[in-house]
Each structure stands twice: as structure tokens, then as C-alpha cells.
């Protein structure tokens, strides 16, 4: 039985492919989408949705949906979310059609205007009803766009976060810091779009890349806890000798990160290290150690590692997290019953699981939560108000499998293949990789702990030679 299970899961894991759709709503969303497509994105469909025909025609998206043919008659929503909502209602059928056959749906929208604020929550709802995992990327308007627009954006954000599994929110006011003060306004906007594009692409890669230590949806969800609308995101890439150090530095340089200070309060930090075949264990060690200085002891680090030959000599780091509750207090005046209940459950659970982990700051201890956070995701989907797909039905089976060491009595072939399903075996086969890391003695660099690491030919020279060469001296 066990043998059969193993044989079955291995090829499936290699061939694993998760259909992803990226949906953009409204004018700002379309801009971001164009950027994402131009930057190059593999293995994902793009859908552009807007009320304004003019901007739709100029979009590079392959699939386009016009909202509210009679409500707005091909014009924009005029900054009125109600018009946007009505338009979405009118075109409900087309939206649903466009959203089918995707397991993950990313929704990009600029909140504050008519279409973005009005239609995006509706589309999120439709996406969720279609049984997909919904991650929304929203931008909040600039402060100078007026109070009214800001209020509309906040309201839309609240509604959006009710339906989406996770909301990654970019504050335009903060994005302003991205560009140098003397840069032109187009440059500032382009940079903002680029940041969104970068985060979408990195999350897509995060999900699609088969990892040594994989990051799953559950990890992603844990990092982007539903109610937190402000996201901390960082991406860095380097190919020098000291690439681990430099990639991290670059990732923390992102203004959304505030040089890593934002991480101090985060409860969850998701880190994915990706690199070519030349990435060494010590590089990852160094990187995680350095990152460890930016996060508090209470923080749960969700760690993933990927070897992708296409990266060549480069090493990239993706850090995703959301701000803690206090930081987010401004936005918490709403209390959607289901969402808050879920997050409370989660919180208490994480409080429990976090305890054994913080003993050592090893990223590798993540084995436990990786397997155990799965039930959360199921709680979320189970409580998802209108959803009636097969996910909740499957979850008891799934939980049982995780809870008990014995394999299920059904043959694997008979099981309906859902994304949830594929994850569990994948994790099982990864366990050896993680244990390998565990065996590695936590190396200290002694006197050089706080200095810039010296990495030459992939070895951290600050670690005593006899330790690296594994020569017993005593």
C-alpha cells in the first residue's frame, strides 16, 4: 500500500501544474496587468475586465470582458462604485465564464475609483464561488486624491477582503517613496506597477516552482492573513560572490519593507530562496540568519527553497508578510463575522504551534507547520460563505490523512484530484530534504557573526575550516 502510494505520487508531483488566472479590474488594474505581461509571465492566463471600452482595447491581455454594456455604455464608471457594481452585476455571466478553470485567481485592482472599487469585490466573490483560491492585489489611492476616494477605497478593501482569501495591499502614498524625488510622475507610476508586477510574478513562481522545500498555499495564506490589508513584500536578486547577502539586502531595500523594520512586528514571514544548481546550503544558512535579525523571536518563518536551473548563477529571495494587527488597527473597524472568526481561530492555533518553534531559529523546523497549517486553509474554505465546491467535502479526508500516519484505504487513483490533494504527497516526499538540513550542525561564525560574510567559491570562509571540511579535531 505504502509502496504503491509512493510510486504514484512521484510522477504526479513532477508534472504538477496549477492553472492560474490573473484578472485585472479597472483602469489601474489594467496598467498593472500590462506591466505583468510585458515583464513576461509563464503559465498563467490573463483577463482584463473594465467598464471603459477604450482602455480595454489598448490592453495587451488575451481575454477581455466589458462590464455593463447598458449601465455605463462603454464608458468608465465615473468614479462611482455603485455604477461599477451594477455594471458587474449586468455582466455576471461573462465574468463567471472568464473565471472558470483556474485553481488560483489573482485579482489586480486600483481601489478608489468606480470600476475597481465596485466590481472588484464582486469579481472576487465570483472567483471564490468558482472554487479558486483568490488573492487580490489592491492599490490604495494617493492621499491627494481626496478623502472621498480614500473612503471608497477603504470600503472596497473591506469588502474585497471578505471574499478574497488574501489581499495584498499597496499604499500609493508609500509607493511614492519608491522613486527618487526628482523622477517624473510617469516613472513613479511605472515603478508602482512594476512592484505589483514583481509581487504577482514572484507569487506565481512561488506556487508553480517545484521546490526542495516547497511553499504551499497554506503557507502563503498564513503569511497573508486575511484581514491584514497592508502587505510587506520584498524581492531581491544577486549573482555576485556574496549573493546571499546582497539579494537579501536588496529585498529589504524595498520601501514597503522599510529596510526590514516592518518585519519586526510580523507574525508570519514567508521566505523563498530560489537559485541555480550552484546555491549552497551555507548561503541559505547565512541568508536566513541575517533575516533572523530582522524578525522577532515570536515570528513564524515559513521557509521555502527552490533550485531552478533557469536562474543560472543568480540567487533570488522573496519575502512576503503582512503587518500585525496593531499596525493595521486603522482598518479594523469592520468585523465580518466569518473572516474574523477564522482569523481568531488561526491566531490561537498559531500561538500554540509557534511555541515549540521559536526555541531555535532554524528555518528548517518548518516541517511541522507546513503539514499542520493545512487544516486552516480548510477551515477557511469550509466557512467560505457561498462556496459549495468539493474542497470542503474533501477536507475531512485530508485531515484524517494528516492526523493519522496510516495511509487511507482508498487507492490513490480513485481520489478526485484537487490541488489540496496534490500537496500532501508532495510534502511527504520532501520530508527527507528537510531532515537533511536538520542534521546539519548549526554553524556559528563566532567573531564574524555580525560582519559581512566572506563567501568565496560558495563557501563561507568565516566558518572554521575544520568544520566545513568535516575534520574532527578533538
Amino acid at each position: 500500500m505504502i509502496q504503491l502510494n509512493k510510486n504514484y505520487t512521484l510522477p504526479e508531483r513532477l508534472a504538477e501544474f496549477i492553472p492560474i488566472k490573473i484578472v485585472s479590474v479597472g483602469g489601474a488594474g489594467l496598467n498593472a496587468l500590462d506591466r505583468i505581461v510585458l515583464d513576461g509571465l509563464e503559465r498563467a492566463d490573463v483577463v482584463a475586465i473594465n467598464t471603459d471600452v477604450h482602455s480595454l482595447t489598448s490592453s495587451v491581455a488575451t481575454r477581455k470582458v466589458q462590464l455593463g454594456r447598458s449601465v455605463s455604455r462603454g464608458l468608465g464608471a465615473g468614479g462611482d462604485p455603485d455604477v461599477g457594481y451594477q455594471a458587474a452585476l449586468e455582466s455576471a455571466e461573462e465574468i463567471r465564464e472568464a473565471l472558470t478553470d483556474a485553481r488560483v485567481i489573482f485579482i489586480c485592482a486600483g481601489l478608489g475609483g468606480g470600476t475597481g472599487s465596485g466590481a472588484a469585490p464582486y469579481i472576487a466573490q465570483a472567483a471564490r464561488e468558482a472554487g479558486a483560491l483568490v488573492i487580490a492585489f489592491a492599490t490604495l489611492p494617493f492621499g491627494f486624491e481626496g478623502k472621498r476616494r480614500n473612503v471608497q477605497a477603504r470600503e472596497a478593501l473591506v469588502r474585497l477582503s471578505e471574499f478574497a482569501h488574501a489581499v495584498v495591499c499597496f499604499d500609493n502614498d508609500r509607493m511614492g517613496d519608491l522613486s527618487p524625488p526628482q523622477a517624473g510622475i510617469h516613472q513613479a507610476f511605472a515603478l508602482a506597477d512594476m512592484t505589483i508586477s514583481q509581487s504577482v510574478r514572484s507569487i506565481v513562481n512561488l506556487i508553480q516552482r517545484p521546490g526542495l522545500i516547497r511553499i504551499g498555499f497554506d503557507d502563503l495564506l498564513a503569511a497573508l492573513r486575511t484581514r491584514n490589508s497592508r502587505c510587506v513584500f520584498g524581492y531581491g536578486e544577486a549573482d555576485s560572490d556574496n549573493r546571499a547577502h546582497e539579494a537579501l539586502k536588496q529585498a529589504l531595500k524595498n520601501p514597503l519593507m522599510d529596510r526590514g523594520r516592518m518585519l519586526a512586528d510580523a507574525t508570519h514571514v514567508l521566505v523563498q530562496v530560489a537559485g541555480g544548481p550552484s546555491v549552497t546550503l551555507s548561503e541559505v544558512e547565512i541568508l536566513m540568519q541575517e533575516l533572523g535579525r530582522h524578525v522577532s523571536d515570536q515570528t513564524q518563518i515559513l521557509f521555502g527553497a527552490v533550485v531552478d536551473a533557469r536562474l543560472g548563477d543568480r540567487l533570488s529571495v522573496t519575502i512576503i508578510s503582512s503587518l500585525s494587527e496593531e499596525e493595521d488597527a486603522v482598518l479594523t473597524h469592520h468585523a465580518p463575522s466569518s473572516a474574523s472568526a477564522v482569523s481568531q481561530v488561526r491566531e490561537s492555533y498559531q500561538a500554540a504551534t509557534a511555541e515549540p518553534e521559536i526555541q531555535s531559529e532554524e528555518p528548517t523546523v518548518e516541517v511541522q507547520p507546513l503539514a499542520e497549517t493545512i487544516p486552516f486553509e480548510q477551515t477557511v474554505s469550509a466557512e467560505a460563505p457561498p462556496v459549495a465546491t468539493s474542497i470542503p467535502i474533501e477536507s475531512p479526508v485530508e485531515t484524517a490523512r494528516n492526523g493519522e500516519p496510516e495511509p487511507p484505504t482508498t487507492t490513490p487513483q480513485e481520489k478526485p484530484v484537487r490541488w489540496k490533494e496534490e500537496k500532501a504527497p508532495a510534502e511527504k516526499s520532501e520530508t527527507p530534504a528537510k531532515q537533511e538540513v536538520l542534521q546539519f550542525e548549526p554553524v556559528t561564525r563566532g567573531r564574524f557573526e555580525k560582519s559581512e560574510p566572506t563567501i568565496i567559491e560558495g563557501e563561507d570562509l568565516d566558518v572554521p575550516t575544520y568544520l566545513r571540511k568535516n575534520i574532527k579535531v578533538k
Binding site: 556559528t444 561564525r445 563566532g446 567573531r447 564574524f448 555580525k450 560582519s451 559581512e452 566572506t454 568565496i456 567559491e457 570562509l461 568565516d462 572554521p464 575550516t465 575544520y466 568544520l467 571540511k469 575534520i471 579535531v473 578533538k474
Partner: protein, 402 residues
């Protein structure tokens, strides 16, 4: 006490800061008047990590030097090191105008500027461009082309560059004291000035200056610098290894290394122990001598092997007629010359500053090679002798004042 012939070299090392005051004699020799030093804190791997602390230490060392040499120090030559320093060889080329075929000084300047027109990372700055050889119309090995006839002047330069801000950190530390910075010099190049004679440079020699935090190397062949660089591994690493391997504090490890350490294996009795005394003089822990030596040996072997691999990227290693010259604090470790000779398969010598006299104890200490080298460098700059081995340095590039 104003004396135009006074020159001061300052090296902010990882383990100590030393200041050497020298005087240039009319006959061209160099006399060392005094040496000041202070233990260094706030420096790691040749670079300042704690600005305030490092500044205090530099001040201490300067005051010490002033007392010992009885001069007022106003300006210094400063050595820089650190893993960010990189080097490469590049050729510059200028064509003489149609109506003129005699090469003049301006052409020589132009060819140097031309050689610098290569892309280095945006955050980097040129530190040195050292002339290797000129070529006139394809004729090789010309040392001074001014006055020669030709149409095309080419020049091979060895260019050293590093991260601008990191070099500036060192300069700022000195300027805050306040002292004027005459120039910044790559410490390996400074050491080579006094460690090697012209004859050895012509024969081909490799200088390895192994200090506390870094190992600087400069390779000469046919009288010109061919390769240079800095490896961020030094005596500190050995001490750290000992401290971790034998589980003793850093200070104790340092003492053990300098008093008992050796990198020769199999040279002691089996089971031979070293007794560690604690601060009050009572016998404490015992460590096996072979263990200590193994730790040192492994680290040094690795460093040398790394160095060898770096140098093997270019073919000069096979043309070292004079051999390897090891200097710096680490050269005091017993057996290091044999180890180097073993790995490089080239004779290795332990050496110290040669081309100077005066305070003999300082001159003969390999720890002062770089600082004395700075003074020598200054002497060369001052007398403005046409110097092989040195290009003019971009003045004003690093120091705001000039």
C-alpha cells in the same frame, strides 16, 4: 618642526593600528623616526565596522607615534584593504596626429585615461592604475616612451578599484581626527614597495601580506604588477577557529596562537599537551598540541589554496623567479613558509621591510610592512621620481578638499 621630508604612513589594520613616521634622506634612503601603534577595535576584515571606536584607536596610535618620533603629524598616507578591492589589466591606446610623430608627455597622459575607460561597477572608484609597459607601434617592453617616434602608443595598465563608499569610510575616519589624507594606497601594493627589491620585481615575485583580517597579494613579473587583490581571510580567522575548536575565549586563543601555534603537522610528540594557565596563573585546561596545529594548518592551507586558484587564472604564477614573499603578522606563525612553498611549489621566504633603516626593531617586524611601505610610497611620490610600478593616483577623487 616643519620638515618637507617627513612622511607618515597609517594603517588601520584589523588587529592593530600602526603609524610610521619616516624621513626621506637626500641620498634617497628612508629613515624610520618612530613607530606608534595601538590595538585596533571596531575593524573587521580590514574594514571599519564601528566608526567611533576605530577613530579613538587611530587617535591613540597617532599620539603614540608623535611621542615616539617627536614630530607633529599633520597629514598621512592611508592604507586600504578589504574584500571589495578588485583588479584587472587593461590596455589603453592612442594614435598620434598626422603631423606629429614624437610622443610627448600629453600622449602618455592620454593613453592612461584611455586605459581607464572601462566599465567598473557604478559604485566603484579607481584606486590605482599602475603602468606595466608601453608599446610603440607594436614594439614591446618600452619603459618610457616620451621622446620616441611612433604613430601608435599603447600602454598596459594594472587597475585597482574598490567600492567608493567603503574607501571613503577609511578616509573619513582619519579626517575626523583631524588629519589630512595625502593619498590612499592599497595595502598590498604598499607592502610590496619595501618587501621587494627592484631585482626581485624584475625576476618575478609574489608578495603575500597576511594580516589580521585580510590577506593582500601582489604579483610582480618583469618588473610590473600583474595581479593583485585582497582575500578577506587573515589571522583573525585562525584565532576564531582556535577559539571555537578548543572552546576557549578569543583572547586566550590569540595568545595560544602567537606563543605556541604552528602550521606544521606531525612535528610534535604524540599526545603532547599544552597547559593553559588562567589569569591568576593557575593551571587550567590542557590542549593537545597536534589539535592546535591541525586547526591552524587547515585554515592556512585553505587560504593558500584559494589564493593559488585565483592566481592561476592568469599564467604568471609559473614565472616567479624570486619566489613568494610572506609578510604581515601571520608570517610570524612558525612553518608558514614551508606550507606556502608546499602548496605553490615555489620557494617561499619570510620577509620584512628591506629598504629602510632607523628604528630597527620596527623595520624588522613584518607586522609593519604595510605602514613602512606607505612611507616608501610617499617618498616616491614626494621626490616625484619617474617611478616604475606606480601610476599617478587620481588625486581629489577620494578627498573632498583637493
Amino acid at each position: 618642526m616643519a620638515n618637507n621630508n617627513l612622511m607618515v604612513g597609517l594603517e588601520i589594520g584589523t588587529s592593530k593600528i600602526c603609524v610610521v613616521v619616516g624621513e626621506s634622506r637626500p641620498d634617497g634612503t628612508l629613515k624610520i623616526l618612530g613607530v606608534g601603534q595601538a590595538p585596533s577595535r571596531g575593524v573587521r576584515k580590514g574594514e571599519i565596522v564601528d566608526f567611533e571606536t576605530a577613530m579613538k584607536c587611530v587617535h591613540e596610535a597617532v599620539v603614540d607615534a608623535e611621542q615616539k618620533s617627536d614630530v607633529m603629524i599633520k597629514s598621512v598616507y592611508v592604507a586600504v584593504a578589504g574584500s571589495h578591492l578588485q583588479s584587472f589589466n587593461n590596455r589603453g591606446c592612442v594614435m598620434l596626429p598626422e603631423d606629429r610623430d614624437e610622443i610627448d608627455e600629453q600622449d602618455v597622459e592620454d593613453v592612461k585615461i584611455n586605459a581607464r575607460e572601462v566599465s567598473i561597477p557604478a559604485q566603484n572608484a579607481f584606486l590605482h592604475s599602475v603602468i606595466q609597459h608601453y608599446q610603440v607601434d607594436g614594439q614591446q617592453g618600452i619603459l618610457n616612451p616620451v621622446g620616441m617616434l611612433g604613430e601608435k602608443l599603447e600602454a598596459d595598465f594594472h587597475i585597482v578599484h574598490g567600492v567608493r563608499t567603503r574607501i571613503q569610510n577609511t578616509i573619513r575616519c582619519v579626517k575626523e581626527l583631524p588629519l589630512d589624507v595625502e593619498d590612499v594606497v592599497f595595502s598590498g601594493l604598499a607592502s610590496a614597495q619595501v618587501v621587494l627589491t627592484q631585482n626581485e620585481k624584475d625576476l618575478g615575485a609574489l608578495v603575500v601580506d597576511m594580516g589580521g583580517g585580510t590577506t593582500d597579494y601582489v604579483l610582480y613579473s618583469e618588473g610590473a604588477v600583474r595581479q593583485s587583490g585582497c582575500l578577506a581571510v587573515g589571522g583573525d580567522h585562525i584565532t576564531n577557529d582556535i577559539s571555537m575548536g578548543l572552546r576557549i575565549p578569543m583572547a586566550r586563543a590569540e595568545k595560544l596562537k602567537t606563543e605556541e601555534g604552528s602550521c606544521v603537522l606531525g612535528n610534535c610528540l604524540p599526545g603532547e599537551m599544552i597547559l593553559l594557565k588562567d589569569d591568576s596563573g593557575f593551571a587550567g585546561k590542557e590542549v593537545e598540541r597536534e589539535t592546535l596545529n591541525t586547526i591552524i594548518h587547515l585554515r592556512l592551507r585553505e587560504a593558500f589554496e584559494l589564493l593559488k586558484r585565483r592566481l592561476e587564472e592568469e599564467p604568471y604564477l609559473g614565472y616567479l623567479g624570486a619566489g613568494i614573499f610572506i609578510t604581515g603578522g601571520c608570517s610570524l606563525l612558525s612553518g608558514i613558509d614551508h606550507l606556502a612553498a608546499d602548496i605553490f611549489e615555489i620557494p617561499a621566504n619570510l620577509t620584512h621591510a628591506q629598504a629602510a633603516w632607523g628604528v630597527t626593531s620596527a623595520v624588522e617586524n613584518p607586522q609593519f610592512s604595510t605602514a613602512i611601505g606607505l612611507v616608501k610610497f610617499a617618498q616616491v611620490m614626494h621626490t616625484d621620481r619617474p617611478s616604475r610600478g606606480f601610476g599617478r593616483i587620481f588625486r581629489g577623487l577620494f578627498s573632498g578638499k583637493r
